[in-house]
Amino acid sequence: MEALTILLSLLFTSILAFLPPLLDGIERKVRAKIQSRFGPPTFLQTWYDLLKLGVKELKIPLSGESAAFLVMLSLIITLISLYAVVYVALTLSTSIDFIVLAMLLVLVAASHSLGLVASATTSNPFALIGSYRSILLTILNELGLVVGSVLSILLGLRLVTNYSILTLATYLLSLAVLVVATYVSSGRLPFDIHEAEPELASGTIIEFSGKILGFYIYSHLLTRYVLSLLVAVAISTPFTAVFSPLPAVFPATLLLSACVYLAYGVVATLLGRTRVDMGVRTLFMYYLLVLTVLVIFTWIGI
């Protein structure tokens, strides 16, 4: 069973790896519709863009020789994190493999960090500004990501075996934390400040071009999908105790992950960009409030 699960996880990972650019193409179309314009001519536009970047000449950024290596490493790690979340989704029934979940969170954090380090190695002042902003947000946000994902999955399982209003409330609250944390991690408006202020400081990817830029963007889209899938897994966790992951829950989880991805895209369309100090302050207040409530609920005894 274990070998079969691993094989299935690898199979689904290989298939799902092609999904993020397609979802991004759909998101661009939806955004265009909201903004009363046509948008890209096809849902496959992001794929075309990535392929186009892939055939450009390889230009190593000045004094950023390790950038290409770090971007590729970040991409590999993101692919592994996709495998990890697929594995969690397939094996989620009455218990959870905490080691894999922990590994997943470490991999997501590592992927973010490697991307930032890749930008910072170019020594471009704009890239450094963007990286600095991103680090500030990431440090704060990782707390929410860890707490949100662990709690929501744990409580999701407990809901089936030990239902109570308090458990449900805590589950929903932890889900809210996870949704916010994954949204912030996805680097969408209003939290796209690492690549923000295009009029002044072009941010983390200013020195990337051609193939490197292509791989960076693909890695970024893949990370977004991993986070969406994580949310979908957390939402579908209570159902895994009733229905088996395959053929029931897992396909629904995949569909849900696409819905979450697109929902995040719609939300981003309706918002402006925050400033780094405002973003940090807002997140801090939000996590402080919600985590305090979670601690209280835990203390009361769920």
Binding site: I129, L189, A196, L200, G272, R273, R275, V276
Partner: protein
């Protein structure tokens, strides 16, 4: 000058403010005043250079006095000297006070840049272009590039346009010989950032994410428009003037023709005034919508940007209905306009305005409800009222800092005295205040057009005939979307002898470093954009073919097509 000035002052004053100011000037500089005269709203004082500073020291603290422009002119062929025309406005009276200062060649004039901070750039420009020297200040290049030859002053009459065009070519030819190539393309590479639409250079000094100081360097693509006009006929210049700016060109052509009409005393038919006013307001609406879209884009709210420009499209269609063009309308003539507004267009105009009003209100309501938009506009880029007054700022920039300055009210022109409208003023002085001023102005402009369309009189649309006279001074000012545009014209027999253009951004840019101090780096682009800067650029490349000896100028896009092998 006679020492009994009271009768003279009574004759020339337009109100108690000009009386008080003239009294002070004559009291301290009576013997240095060579002539005093008044025509319409312009009081002209011809004063010796040695007493100019003394006169201005006595009046610079007047609260309703501001420096509108300074025009330097080479009149050596007529009177054997240069002249500086300092144009001040008395807002409360709608009076122009013009100090005409004769300057002998080689003579120096005392600076007034410590009294009227807005004069800083004008003095540098007069030095760059005409070689006039100023005492008591540091001189540096402003308008011309650092490597411009010494003692070559483009606006002096002995320097022709052809000479200026040829000036850099010998350098290019020698460079081409060095490279050993047959053809070379010289692309002007300036401080061009991918996200900036025009060449501009802001040097921001930051500590962490806070701006502690800022420096602006501009005039990257100075086109020599004022010099070009000196070789053109009167009715050719409006088309050149309209190309000063791609967004607000009509204000420049209107300002120019008004200056000529003022100088020559041309009676413009009422209907032409109404048509000019309508088109000016259409231009204001489109410009403000464009700006609002750009501001929302800078805040990351691209949905707002797209919808603002979608709504603006209706205004562009309206402009085409009225003038035949979406932009660069080409309808201004000295003495009137070229194109009439037919009665059958009126229902369509009103319908467009109704839709515009409704959709714009929805856009503003939604945009202001986005938390990030309001949070980032509020309290950022603050410009205190005192600084706004000291720098003689204009337009929404000054109205956002609590000063109700508007040329349409203070120095009314065209058909504005027939309509009723408010001048929006906000006192906070931040980016939000300047945004809300523009938002309110759009609604006011819609109302103004509706009133004008209802009241439009019949009759001709241009003066039947007019006679040019040499060396008459005329001032034309228009409230552009960005602020006051002011043109000063000295007439000649076939075209302008001297044409001085002052766009509002020239005045307002000088205050940007103040607005930027203490601002977060992330808010710097928005703060710069909040004055709605219009740098008006063009890129040109010069191609020299050594074999044939031909020299061509081509736009960059044509060159890029060539590089791709398409022609």
């Amino acid at each position: 000058m006679s020492h009994d000035y009271s009768k003279l002052i009574d004759e020339l004053s337009r109100g108690h403010r000009s009386r008080a100011i003239l009294s002070k000037i004559l009291e301290v500089c009576g013997d240095s005043v060579l002539d005093l005269s008044r025509r319409n709203i312009v009081i002209k004082i011809v004063i010796k250079a040695k007493c100019l500073r003394t006169a201005l020291e006595n009046i610079y603290k007047e609260h309703d006095l501001y420096l509108r422009t300074i025009a330097a002119s080479d009149e050596r062929s007529r009177e054997g000297l240069f002249k500086l025309y300092y144009v001040f406005g008395i807002d409360s009276e709608g009076t122009n006070l013009v100090f005409e200062v004769p300057v002998a060649e080689g003579a120096k004039v005392d600076t007034i840049s410590d009294l009227f901070r807005a004069s800083d750039w004008y003095e540098l420009e007069a030095h760059d272009l005409l070689g006039i020297e100023f005492n008591g200040r540091q001189m540096s290049r402003l308008v011309l590039p650092e490597d411009w030859p010494e003692n070559l002053y483009p606006l002096r009459k002995e320097v022709s346009v052809e000479e200026l065009k040829k000036m850099y070519q010998p350098q290019l030819i020698s460079r081409v010989s060095e490279l050993g190539v047959e053809e070379v393309v010289r692309i002007p590479v300036g401080p061009y950032h991918p996200a900036l639409h025009e060449p501009e250079y802001f040097e921001l000094y930051v500590r962490g994410e806070k701006v502690v100081d800022a420096r602006y360097v501009g005039f990257m693509v100075h086109r020599g428009i004022e010099k070009l006009a000196e070789s053109m006929k009167y009715d050719q210049v409006p088309f050149l003037a309209e190309r000063i700016c791609g967004i607000c060109g009509f204000v420049h052509s209107t300002s120019y023709v008004q200056a000529v009409e003022d100088a020559l005393g041309i009676e413009v038919p009422e209907r032409a005034h109404f048509i000019r006013s309508i088109v000016l307001e259409v231009e204001r609406i489109h410009s403000h919508l464009l700006w609002l879209g750009v501001a929302l884009h800078l805040l990351g709210y691209d949905t707002g940007f797209m919808h603002a420009w979608r709504i603006r499209e209706k205004v562009m269609v309206l402009a085409e209905l009225l003038t035949g063009s979406r932009k660069t309308y080409g309808i201004d003539l000295v003495g009137g306009v070229k194109k009439d507004i037919d009665k059958d267009k009126i229902p369509r105009i009103k319908e467009t305005l109704n839709v515009l009003r409704k959709e714009f209100k929805e856009l503003v309501d939604v945009a202001m409800s986005v938390p990030q938009v309001k949070a980032r506009l509020t309290g950022t880029g603050v410009l205190p009222r005192g600084e706004a007054r000291a720098y003689s700022l204009v337009g929404p920039t000054v109205r956002g800092s609590g000063i109700a300055r508007d040329v349409r009210k203070d120095y009314t022109y065209a058909a504005y005295h027939y309509v009723s409208f408010k001048v929006p003023v906000y006192t906070e002085g931040d980016n939000l205040a300047r945004t809300l001023v523009r938002v309110d102005e759009v609604f006011e402009s819609i109302s103004i057009i509706e009133q004008l369309v209802d009241m439009m009189p019949g009759g001709p649309i241009k003066a039947e005939r007019w006679e040019p006279q040499p060396m008459r001074l005329g001032i034309g000012a228009v409230e552009a979307p960005r602020g006051e545009v002011i043109h000063v014209v000295l007439t000649d027999l076939y075209g302008p002898y001297r044409w001085r253009v002052r766009a509002p951004t020239y005045q307002n840019l000088q205050a940007v470093p103040i607005m930027l101090k203490g601002v977060d780096l992330a808010d710097a682009p928005l703060t710069i954009a909040s004055i709605d800067p219009c740098f008006s650029c063009t890129d040109r490349a010069v191609i020299i073919n050594l074999r044939s000896g031909s020299v061509k100028t081509l736009p960059i896009e044509v060159i890029s097509r060539r590089v791709r092998g398409n022609g």
